[in-house]
Symmetry: C2
Amino acid sequence: MISWKNFDTLTSYQELKNIEAIDLAKEMSGDNGADRIRNYSVSMGEGLNFNYGARPVSEEILSALANLAKEAQLAEKFEALYNGAVINTGEKRLVLHHLTRGQLGSDVVAEGINKRAFYMEQQAKAKDFANKVHAGEITNAAGEKFTTVVQIGIGGSDLGPRAMYLALENWAKVNNTHKMRAEFISNVDPDDAAAVLSKIDVAHSIFVLVSKSGTTLETLTNESFVKDALAKAGLDASKHMVAVTSETSPLAKSDDYLAAFFMDDYIGGRYSSTSAVGGVVLSLAFGPEVFEAFLKGANTADELAKNANPLENAAMLDALIGVYERNILGYPSTAVLPYSQALSRFPAHLQQLDMESNGKSVNRDGEPVCYATGPVIFGEPGTNGQHSFYQLLHQGTDIVPLQFVGFKNSQMGEDVLIQGSTSQQKLCANVAAQIIAFACGKADENRNKNFEGGRPSSIIIGEQLTPESLGALLAHFENKVMFQGFVWNLNSFDQEGVQLGKVLAKRVLAHETDGALKVLSDLLNI
Amino acid sequence: MISWKNFDTLTSYQELKNIEAIDLAKEMSGDNGADRIRNYSVSMGEGLNFNYGARPVSEEILSALANLAKEAQLAEKFEALYNGAVINTGEKRLVLHHLTRGQLGSDVVAEGINKRAFYMEQQAKAKDFANKVHAGEITNAAGEKFTTVVQIGIGGSDLGPRAMYLALENWAKVNNTHKMRAEFISNVDPDDAAAVLSKIDVAHSIFVLVSKSGTTLETLTNESFVKDALAKAGLDASKHMVAVTSETSPLAKSDDYLAAFFMDDYIGGRYSSTSAVGGVVLSLAFGPEVFEAFLKGANTADELAKNANPLENAAMLDALIGVYERNILGYPSTAVLPYSQALSRFPAHLQQLDMESNGKSVNRDGEPVCYATGPVIFGEPGTNGQHSFYQLLHQGTDIVPLQFVGFKNSQMGEDVLIQGSTSQQKLCANVAAQIIAFACGKADENRNKNFEGGRPSSIIIGEQLTPESLGALLAHFENKVMFQGFVWNLNSFDQEGVQLGKVLAKRVLAHETDGALKVLSDLLNI
């Protein structure tokens, strides 16, 4: 029997509060530090390991976190989720994104439909469509092959698929599986669509319109923008556009599209990269086999996330330590720092994933909570960040926990040997050095050159960023956010906070405003 | 006589602490809210206005902030800075980036050189070089015109110039002044250089190597990477590379470069976009006249920043309100949210500018301070962010002050009319709506749909994002950060926090490690 309780009502919360925090700089020095890095590691599958040696935990704290996992019934709640419970309490919906990559439990049937079968059917449809485009069986009106795919979507229909595309673009090129160039239009700023259209060959482009509801203002506006451009080029838009939407949306059965691929209300936008939202564009760009490998990697991580023992479950452990850092140590933000240029937009995706899921002040029953929930998430790739905001991370007045990601091998394999080391070795040497610099610091008589240390981090180490490891990495963070939502007793799967702005924007456009909003609208010439 | 005192020793700090915080939601409602938006506005020049109606201030608080400005001698300190005082106490250096765009005070002579004349000379050299490249007087060995410029630099040699290039790329295209495509290589990750090289035509590319010291590991490594590629293509690297460096660096007089342009130790990397660091690449990309217009805009903002009255000095006022939010209200982070896709990387630049300048725990004399200094800075363009992390901003448990930027007109002028409004109007309607939604909130019996409000923001409103307004926008934030550094009594112009990581990374590469660092290095296969 699952019981949903606020975090601060749990015995393990009190237990955690009563444990003295560790002195991380001391713990991480000498042989003890070496042992921590050696032992505090969990396999994540697909060649990835989650190393938490430099996070602010001890055996005592880990034991209390394991108690918390048990008391908060994290494994049971995940089990309920993947077996089809109504976890999204606000919208009264199931939460089924895991089913896009595998069946974790029993069959989930909703509205008489087996949902795993439904998602697989959509995936097969996208595969078939992509194969036909690549084979030249689906072409433009002139019978020429499409070379470019442009995703039109915003939020979860943009950030995840864009980050995944960039993560695999160069890998696909060197592995001869880069089939089509992908571009993305998201912002309602007309310069966004205009700039993308100015640099592509529209006659050879397929546009993927992504909107679950079929009513997203930005996306429909950009669709019109693109249709205008196609018409001006003398092209029939319906031969250049496909839709990814829900079966009940106005886009689903429209003749305006070459094809339509479906998702449903049980997959939130920020969890939709493994659904048709990511599947169509990624299958077109890289071929369906690459997308399947990506799903396989995500499924590997999902299976590991079922383990009730947090010491064997990286996502659960990462979540628990994050809660400890947020609620016991009081750190208000977390940085995501991938040492991989291919992951340049991964932090922006995680920013949405995490902040939109757990940036809430009421619990899943709509009652206010009295503890801090989701932190601010930000990040940029290393080593770039080292020459930028790391100054504050090292010597600022606030402590920011860090989530590093690093790979032993580059994607493209081109490298140079300078001063006895390759670029890839320099990249890895830097991330190793940063972890120790943050944790241990370094005393200096000149206080300006003094490093206090005690700044916690973890690192996910992989062999190489591939479709499989990318899938596992993505699912790790999705599951981490889910577990944190369970601990905080939140509904991590709705986003009521985005509604008020939409309502007011409509009022501005209808010129139905007064007070400050009217003055602002006038200042902006609306 | 200037006296440098810690913030918490000032009378005005105590005064601020004793004033009751305002109820922003209440203040921003009805006619009072309309009056605030109408009246709380300062001209920033170049068509920009800083509107702080929705920031958490009252007449009483503004008066206390004016007292703080006076007591902390903000105007006098800025005057000392631009007249050549040693403001960078850690490195014992002058701080002269303002001189790259205009002479604000008396002549500054260092090492016998008039520094304004020196910077203008470098600018003229870049102008002449760019003009010759554009005219085909400087060509590749085959006598063909260069079409692409690639900046190789990291941190301040990358983020600012890259953000500025992206900000003006489409503006330049529609104004027929886009001369050369620009690309950027920054990360030591070998995939960064390999990916850029794979998509350009190296035979027609000029590479701008940017390193003040001439010793930046990432940059020299990427230079070798590029030289390798040029050699493989049968090209003479010295005919394809220019250097931007200090006169004393190993790069300054090398035959490896077609030309060398100089900066000096008085311009920090993060303040170098208006020096040759930004000047060479932007003059090549857009023509020197565009770069000059950008400098003019920055100078306009600098001149306005001299005003001792914060109510007439947007940068100073923005700084003071930010300090109030950080130290009195206790908000740990700030989001920068430009409603302009062209400013997609502007937040990443401000993140460096702010966090590297003021992420410090010791004052300018090297003594620890007992108050919070620079906040975490993050951001993405709107409306994209609305569909992402705004959930937390609206309904999360922490309050995050927001800095919006919006323009009445788009850059490219292409637009569509949908449901009675253009995309540009929708964009502007959204930013107006967000400001009011954040400030005023909206009560709802369903607590999950309830918005508390009371979340402060300001907006900089401009006519259009042009070289001039971009310059003013950049200088506004530079000067804001400077004034905050003065209030907090920090040295905002060094970055000792980046040193320890560099030292440890070298040790890893030399295999001179033990303890946790050795284990980590082994795990990463170094």
